[in-house]
């Protein structure tokens, strides 16, 4: 069973994908870096022009391909470089968060946060907190395209019946 990608092992390190808006969160992450604030190396930062560039399907895709947590981060509402982008982000992800929970993604695996360019410490705080939550939850098994743990469970149930 050691080759099972979703088995929770003692040295499990979560993989977290961060969609960072170019104008605020990316600058915030940069500030965290130049201020030498320590944050977990589990995050992979992906820079996007605006948080509203993040198609909700990218999030599902990330979970399919083995990411354990997704963070979408952008400017605070009202501060968008493109004036209104993050208002749309907010609407979309208010719905998408609920839809993902509805299909069984554990709450906390997908988060949206507003982190401005001057909030380096907040970036540190958010990714640290998220890494801890996901470390507790263990590897993501839901929606993954390389995992059939759920299906094995079905088969076992069918056999038991």
């Amino acid at each position: 069973m050691s080759n099972n990608p979703v088995e929770k092992t003692e040295n499990f390190e979560p993989k977290i994908l961060v969609f960072a808006c170019n104008w605020c969160t990316y600058a915030g992450a940069d500030l965290a870096g130049v201020s030498r604030l320590q944050y977990p190396p589990n995050v992979r930062v992906l820079r996007v022009p605006c948080s509203c560039r993040v198609n909700p399907q990218f999030v599902v895709r990330a979970f399919q391909r083995g990411i354990d947590g997704v963070l979408v981060a952008g400017c605070h509402p009202g501060d968008c470089h493109y004036t209104t982008g993050n208002y749309y982000t907010r609407r979309r992800f208010l719905l998408m968060t609920r839809m993902l929970e509805y299909v069984g993604i554990d709450s906390g695996r997908f988060q949206t946060r507003w982190i401005s360019g001057s909030e380096g410490p907040k970036f540190q705080e958010v990714v640290t907190e998220m890494t801890e939550i996901i470390r507790q939850l263990g590897p993501n098994q839901k929606l993954r395209d390389d995992v059939t743990i759920e299906m094995q469970d079905f088969e076992e149930e069918a056999v038991n019946e």
């Binding site: 299909v103 839901k142 395209d145």
Partner: protein
């Protein structure tokens, strides 16, 4: 219903004979009692084919997209949900309302043809029809018959709440089980009046972030994406459930989206008029703030 059928045939005949319409879109009888399918009538003699019975659940408005660039004068029979679909297409700028003649038909509710196919003795109304709040046409150039009373006054989300009450693992299992049945025939997309994009992302073979693989993971990606794309556009006609050959409860996803949108951004029923923007196509600076 027989009276209505007579009237529909008469009206279709008049329209075709006077030249007000060259095509009339309605329903005709299929091979089996529970099969009623859409039909295009082009001559006065053919109007005898038209039927109006308990299985006219098909939404006809989608066929209008095929006539947008045609010179034909199209008349269409439309139930409450068809007219909402019509408004949706107008709102999405897929059709122009003035190009078509809409003949409204108040709908007493259609029976569940999947149940009928199973040989159930007393066939119940289709689920979407049981929950229907708009059986009367919301837009029509002329309406036949008398308005009927809606069968429901408030949306029924008991089935959605039953899923919400499950634990995350149970939900994941439930949906994986449901979507592993999906054969990706895209019938739900093709009948859907909300899914009217000229280029669907699921028709692209090289987009890189969706695939045509048929497995539970990719099928769920399809299901979630489709539910999200029709969120705020879904008119709850239940066509997707009706056509699904694998009995995936597609409306259960769509209703969840509608429930949440209503809760978050205020009650919005798609297709009642053509002026407003759909909930995900607009924003409000005072939207609920959960992300901080």
């Amino acid at each position: 219903m027989l009276e209505m059928q007579q009237e529909m045939r008469k009206v279709a005949k008049e329209l075709l004979e006077s030249g007000e319409a060259t095509v009339v879109i309605g329903w005709e009888k299929g091979a089996l009692p529970y099969q009623t399918s859409p039909v295009l009538i082009r001559s006065a003699e053919e109007t005898e084919k038209l039927v109006w019975d308990e299985y006219c659940q098909q939404n006809l408005s989608n066929y209008l997209i095929d006539f947008v660039y045609s010179d034909e004068k199209v008349a269409i029979f439309a139930k409450g949900c068809d007219t909402r679909a019509f408004n949706r297409l107008v709102q999405d700028k897929r059709i122009k309302a003035e190009q078509f003649t809409v003949i409204g038909v108040p709908c007493p509710g259609m029976k569940d043809r999947k149940q009928a196919a199973k040989g159930v003795a007393d066939v119940p109304l289709a689920k979407a029809c049981q929950e229907c709040r708009y059986p009367n046409p919301v837009y029509a150039n002329r309406t036949l018959g008398q308005p009927v009373t809606p069968r429901a006054t408030a949306p029924d989300y008991s089935d959605v709440e039953a899923i919400e009450a499950m634990s995350a693992d149970e939900k994941a299992k439930f949906w994986q089980e449901q979507y592993s049945k999906c054969i990706r025939c895209y019938a739900c997309r093709n009948v859907c009046p909300a899914c009217n994009c000229t280029n669907c992302i699921f028709d692209q073979s090289k987009s890189g972030w969706q695939s045509k693989d048929i497995n539970a993971s990719e099928n769920q990606f399809y299901g979630i994406t489709r539910a999200f794309h029709v969120a705020g556009r879904c008119i709850e006609c239940g066509q997707c459930d009706m056509v699904c050959p694998s009995d995936v409860p597609i409306m259960l996803m769509n209703k969840k989206a509608k429930k949440d949108l209503d809760q978050l951004f205020g009650q919005y029923d798609a297709g009642l008029e053509t002026e407003s923007l759909i909930p995900l196509g607009r924003y409000d600076v005072n939207d609920p703030e959960e992300f901080m």
